[in-house]
């Protein structure tokens, strides 16, 4: 049984162990052995590139897809690798045949990149963009479901809904099954943005009921950055093409995604090693047990020390390994007036605070504003321990003290 916490960080990860990292959620972190595995593939590719690209590449791909498909509860035929969720979502939206007047439905918690993708589609393909403003504070899951039912019944032209499985900002576990059911009721296609889910939740994609799903392996499943999956329901296998055409095969969906020029697929080929690591340190049960408890304890600690609160949402929407905590009232943590439906200013990075906390206290965390209020998003990963969050708590209190 692996020991979690800083000992694991020192043993297995490439993170600078003299510092504190509370942001697995943004960029992920792969263990050294996985990076080395990837380097091995790069080396192989450079030692004999023709051999790699012409004769080895495809076998590697097919073998990795098998392994990953099992992890996400899917038939391998439904799965292709993409660089990241953003790319996967682009592939779906660019491939679907939208006609003038067709609609896409997103919401205020939809990831920034995805909002941009949809806005671009709206502008260039005359798609109508529909938006659910999620109430703040959010009292119950039903508020979201009601808002969705209202939009879907009122606008029967909505062709596609993009639904987060676990949203990024604020981090929340969405009522995905109910939302899929609603979309089915109104004959709307469903694309799940599952960026945060591989490794954080057990996945059974073939049973989920969605039409498309994209999720990162490089966040919570310890793969190197640049490895994600796109899951496509069988009836759409001949509809969804990658955003870059390199190879054009009308029959076999994976071939188009697999052959992207003489590009480096080494990140994909390291996913088996990542999943091996995941299982070796305890698998979903042990990892979830540790990280969920740590996220809970860390959030409680911060709320207590800062005398603030969690982002107001129902308990059953708290994501397993992340929390969003309100910052104390102070000029370091700016607030500004904004209305609940101000979409442009919904979520903004607080880069200067991130920089200060890093430079002065060697802690990496995410500081942002949502609805004009200042928040901190923490992640709890296998290399974290409660002392990490004590450091964060104290760092902020130090800043508060200094400005008195």
């Amino acid at each position: 049984m692996a020991v979690f916490g800083r000992a694991l960080m020192k043993k297995e990860f490439m993170l600078d162990s003299s510092k504190t990292f509370l942001n697995q959620g943004s960029y992920g972190n792969a263990p050294r052995r996985v990076i080395e595995c990837r380097t091995g593939y790069i080396r192989m590719m450079e030692e004999s590139p023709d051999d790699y690209f012409r004769w080895k590449n495809e076998d590697f791909w097919l073998s990795m897809v098998q392994t990953v498909a099992e992890f996400i509860g899917s038939d391998p035929q439904n799965v292709v690798f993409v660089q990241n969720t953003t790319t996967g979502i682009n592939a779906v939206i660019r491939s679907l045949n939208f006609e003038k007047g067709d609609g896409i439905l997103i919401n205020s918690w939809t990831y920034g990149n995805v909002k941009n993708i949809c806005a671009y589609a709206a502008d260039t393909r005359h798609v109508d963009l529909y938006y659910v403003d999620i109430p703040f504070p959010l009292k119950s899951v039903d508020q979201i479901l009601t808002a969705y039912e209202e939009k879907l019944s009122k606008h029967q032209n909505i062709k596609l809904a993009i639904v987060d499985y676990i949203s990024s900002m604020p981090p929340a576990l969405m009522p995905v099954k109910e939302m899929i059911a609603l979309c089915r009721k109104y004959d709307t296609l469903v694309l799940i943005d599952g960026a945060h889910t591989p490794g954080q939740l057990p996945l059974h994609l073939d049973q989920l009921g969605a039409d498309f799903y994209a999720g990162n392996l490089h966040k919570w499943a310890f793969a190197p950055r640049g490895s994600a999956v796109l899951w496509i329901r069988p009836e759409f296998h001949h509809t969804i093409f990658p955003v870059v055409t390199s190879y054009y095969d009308k029959e076999v969906v994976y071939k188009n995604f697999f052959y992207q020029g003489t590009g480096d697929n080494s990140t994909y080929y390291s996913t088996a090693e990542a999943l091996k690591f995941y299982q070796e340190i305890g698998g979903y049960d042990k990892i979830s047990e540790y990280c969920s408890k740590l996220a809970l304890d860390a959030a409680n600690l911060l709320v207590k020390k800062w005398k603030t609160s969690l982002y107001p949402m129902p308990d059953n929407m708290l994501p397993p390994f992340m929390r969003l905590i309100r910052m104390p009232d102070h000029k370091w943590f700016p607030t500004f007036k904004t209305s609940a439906d101000d979409r442009k200013n919904f979520c903004r990075d607080n880069m200067s605070l991130m920089k200060t906390v890093w430079e002065r206290f060697q802690i990496q965390s995410v500081f942002i504003s949502i609805h004009g209020q200042s928040w901190c998003r923490i992640s709890a990963s296998v290399y974290n321990e409660i002392q990490d969050y004590e450091k964060l708590a104290d760092a902020i209190l130090t800043l508060l003290d200094e400005e008195k």
Partner: protein, 408 residues
């Protein structure tokens, strides 16, 4: 500078194999490879700092370096993973549709053809081809063919021109072709996949609207490193195939290309090291001095040994570093016979032959079928020497002998 076997050990290339196909995949110097891994180490040790605090300045610094290398204004240049991505970015961003045509040629790279036909399917764009004859007699003949197509088809919106084609390897009179396209008021996208490091590039003087080329072929960068040059008047219009960042006008153009979701962009940031290596071993002059005469000798050697002939090309259309030589007719490895006028699938890789030559003789070379014949497309790079091609000639000679035993 000691080229050939001496410098071979400075490359990651496997020492057991002879490589005479630099053009396809490039070859990475150990120095650049290690530098890149060093950047990966930095990225992994502190990812937030890398992505949030360092990325933009690394990007800008690397763009400045490669812009200078290619005679480009930094503000017109962005990184993309490959020429194919660059071409996809341009073609997918221009709002072309039914009634519009794109002009390519029978020599266009297969991924370019596939991209065009995908757009034909998705958007109803017509794809027109300049069907290049075999043999091509002169530059003038080529220019006339383009002139004729442009006169005949008003629907052409954009012309996609190669500087150096892959198969057959040909140096096209690109400036003159661009002038013709301008005469007819057409947009020009230049596929310069083979340009960086191979032929002189002065992108600001090229006269094109768009240019895209690989740094990982002849300029020694790691794989997944290429550039897209966009004329200023199109800065707001050409979006990357992956939308991530907020687009048009909200933020500078280059940010659209940097923010593509999360991934490993260390190949881009290694480009300075690659260019240092390139210059360190002699730059274009030093490299071409050695390699150009080597590839000429190599091609002549094969033609003599195999009693075949060079791919028929006007002298002034030979590329500096690549040649194509006819293979003897082999029953075991027949070429693909393509009906006349079939421009889309004119060029094929001869995979079985390549595999056999690699596995039996330890030589990696490109064997292609075009114009109803089998050929070897040769390259000469700094790590090659004439003995590589002597061994290749021996290998083919062996195959010929064995082939003579085969009953039809």
């Amino acid at each position: 500078m000691s080229f050939g076997a001496e410098i071979r050990k400075d490359f990651v290339l496997d020492s057991k194999t002879i490589f005479v196909n630099h053009a396809s995949c490039g070859a990475l110097p150990l120095d650049v490879y290690n530098h890149r891994l060093g950047l990966v180490q930095k990225m992994e040790s502190s990812p937030d700092v890398w992505f949030r605090l360092k990325s933009e300045s690394m990007w800008k610094e690397s763009i400045d370096t490669v812009a200078e290398f290619l005679g480009s204004k930094p503000s017109n240049l962005v990184f993309v993973k490959s020429t194919t991505v660059g071409i996809n970015a341009v073609l997918r961003s221009l709002k072309l549709g039914r009634g519009d045509s794109i002009l390519i040629s029978s020599w266009s790279y297969f991924a370019v053809k596939d991209t065009c036909h995908e757009l034909e399917r998705q958007q109803g764009i017509e794809i027109l081809y300049v069907d290049i004859p075999y043999p091509l007699k002169s530059k003038e003949q080529l220019l006339e063919l383009y002139e004729t197509m442009l006169q005949k088809h008003n629907s052409i919106c954009l012309v996609l021109l190669d500087v150096i084609t892959s198969v057959p390897p040909v140096l096209l009179p690109v400036k003159q072709l661009i002038a013709i396209c301008r005469k007819y008021g057409k947009l020009v996208l230049v596929d310069g996949a083979h340009v960086p490091g191979h032929v002189e590039a002065n992108l600001e003087d090229l006269g094109a609207d768009f240019f895209t080329g690989n740094l990982y072929k002849w300029a020694y960068a790691p794989r997944d490193c290429a550039v897209l040059w966009i004329h200023e008047k199109f800065h707001g219009a050409i979006m990357p195939p992956v939308t991530g960042y907020s687009f048009y006008g909200e933020g500078e153009m280059w940010k659209n290309y940097l923010y593509q979701g999360h991934g490993d962009f260390t190949p881009f940031y290694s480009v300075g090291r690659a260019i240092d290596f390139y210059r360190g071993i002699g730059g274009r002059e030093g490299i071409l001095d050695y390699c150009s005469s080597l590839v000429t000798k190599a091609a002549d050697l094969l033609v003599t040994r195999l009693r075949t002939f060079h791919y028929p090309l006007p002298d002034d259309m030979q590329t500096p570093l690549m040649r194509q030589v006819a293979l003897p007719k082999l029953k075991k490895y027949p070429p693909v016979i393509v009906p006349p006028g079939e421009v889309k699938r004119k060029i094929h890789n001869m995979m079985t032959l390549m595999e056999d030559i690699l596995n039996r003789f330890g030589i990696m070379c490109a064997c292609v079928s075009v114009d109803n014949r089998a050929w070897i497309r040769l390259c000469a790079s700094v790590y090659n020497e004439i003995s590589d091609y002597e061994k290749l000639a021996d290998a083919i000679a062996t195959l010929v002998e064995e082939d003579e035993e085969i009953e039809v």
